[in-house]
Amino acid sequence: MSQTLWLIPALPLLGALINGVIGRRLPRALSSWFAVAVMAASFGVAVNAVINLIALPPEAQVIHETLYQWLGVGSFSADVGFWLDPLSAVMILVVTGIGALIHMYAVGYMAHDSDYARFFTALNLFAFAMLVLVLADNYLLMYLGWEGVGVCSYLLIGFWYNRDNLAVGTDEKFLSPRSSATKAFVVNRVGDFGFTLGMVLMFWTLGSLSFGQVFHNAETMLQVGAPVVTIMTLLLFLGATGKSAQIPLYVWLPDAMAGPTPVSALMHAATMVTAGVYMVARSHVLFQLAPATMAVVAVIGVLTAFIAATIALTQHDLKRVLAYSTVSQLGYMMLALGVGAFSAGIFHLMTHAFFKALLFLGAGAVMHAMNDMLDMRRLGGLRKIMPITFWTFLIGALALSGFPLFSGFFSKDEILAAGFKTGNIGLWLAGVVTALLTAFYTFRAVVLTFGGKPRWRKGEIVTTTDAADTHTAADAHGAPGLDPHEAKWVMTVPLIVLALGALFAGFLGLPSVLGENRFEHFLEPVFHQTAIVIPPELEWLLIGISAAAAIVGIFLALRFYRGDARTPARLAAYYPALYQLLLNKYWVDEFYDTLIARPGRWLANAFWLGVDGKIINGLADGLGNALRRFGNTLRTLQSGYARGYALAMLIGIVVVIVLVIARP
């Protein structure tokens, strides 16, 4: 078979190189559509590769390409090699397919930004890094992609580096894009540190970093529950909590909304945050050897899901609600991995990629229409004005809520059922409650954004509250006041395609009572798992309960927020402490700030001003100052009087002669 796997990451890299080097000189349309084209081509190659993969017999479903040896030191070697099995097949299809759609959407979304070349360079580079991450055949190459993704997220979150406050038309104060980018990067570094240590420990105990050998050695050399494998997987999981925004490292993701919306959709919904989930699923052999870690993964996952969902209940900013729902859904995926239902986790990853990208892009269309204003207290009534956005957003919201027959329903139900079947009733119950909360906050967002009467006036001018920010929303869109309109076709086409995905992707993985779980079957060569069979009555009961959770949540949200919605305000007034707790996101940011960021800054300042400024600089400066003072003293000898020099010479000669003569 011809080797084509390398083309999948290479095409976006080519796009990044060309846009990065000459993009500024290209016309806008050429530069941006080129970025889309490389992604589409990459998708084409990926589809072709996956078709080739499916043609292989199930027990040998791996396409392995080694390009060259990257490092080789003693017994250690790392190749630049790509590894396509059903698991990475799902990932490359998601990354390139949804990625291409988001790139296309970005053409329309960034149509008014003069820095289009920089944007598309970073976007393509991101896709490249992500594809390296999912296609790598060893942990070191995976780590390269992992870090590349981190860097690109920094570049893209901080894309509007010269703007200070992106909260338009509201009194809310968010982190500036610069600070958000730094926060994302630093928080991710904490996780990466764990990943690095995990890799070191892996090489130390198992003697290799390439997937095949690591898993083979792990199965033959390590016992279940051995301390070393527990520590190793906990370290790897720390890396996953960073990238996949789990407790305790989820805090970066909501602030990452400071980037342009296609970035939020691409990185913080569909691809980057799935890196941690992918990594854990990829290392399933190791994780299965460490039951303690698996329990940690499941508990962290369900806690993250629940806590993020409760925060999402009270947020006012549409994108923040979606961001917290991403954190929450990632928690579900971790829960699935933690109870050993790897294919269910990956299935939810895929369906989530569809509907969350869709929801973010829909929010972006709303932003475009409303001159960047996203405060849901001031939206409303957009259903008639933006029908395509409304209907696609509704489909995404139904999928996210887990409404029966939408994609999110099947994947979430599979996760919950897996929790139940493995006997973790507590986890299952928390998951069901979270599902109810999910449906509630999702439809709260839908109703507040699209339903009811407009809470804005036509022609109203919305600006940021930040006086120093010269970039007003009106500049960006060339519109003097609010005049909402449906987005252009480059933006609506991706919405429609993603909506189809959100509608139908779920049918790939039907529960056993409804049909065949093709998705799990497809992933079987990787995970070697078959579903636990339970009586159909129980299965129906579980399905009924998750459907009921979704429907009750949706119903409650409609009751609360349609018409003149006094219930939420009354509830908030009735439980002020709880409301403030949720509105302020459990004060986790403040907590981290006091406990870690402030002491860190204090320590950095101490080292900067104290050790570096006083001691090191003091030494260097002191030496220089002493020499300068000495020189200043000496320079007075150079009087500039030639006769003075002559006299000095004469005296010197006389002294020398006297000394010579007087010598015994």
């Binding site: 320079r635 007075t636 150079q638 009087s639 500039g640 030639a642 006769r643 002559a646 006299l647």
Partner: protein, 100 residues
């Protein structure tokens, strides 16, 4: 009878005169003359010693000193002219651009 001492004393006097001229005068021309005087005082001593020791080495040195003196005057006068053109003034105490 003239002894070598007479010549040595004369040479020393001439040298001291030259050095005094270099040290006390501010006119570079006079200072150059003082330098010439010092060189020729040394020449006188060389010739005297050469005669009394009946060795020609001293006279060879005199020729070398004469040559050097000629070159020195050429360079010195050229410098004086150049300085005069640049500053309209050749007072040695005024020429102190390199004062520290």
């Amino acid at each position: 009878m003239l002894t070598v001492t007479h010549f040595t004393v004369l040479s020393a006097l001439l040298f001291a005169l030259g050095a005094l001229a270099v040290l006390v005068r501010r006119n570079p021309l006079i200072m150059l003359m003082g330098i010439e005087l010092m060189l020729n005082a040394v020449n006188l001593a060389f010739v005297a010693f050469s005669h009394y020791l009946e060795n020609m080495d001293g006279q060879v040195f005199v020729f070398i000193v004469l040559t050097v003196a000629a070159a020195e005057v050429a360079v010195g006068l050229a410098l004086v002219v150049a300085i005069f053109r640049a500053r309209d003034n050749v007072d040695m105490d005024e020429i102190d651009s390199l004062r520290g």
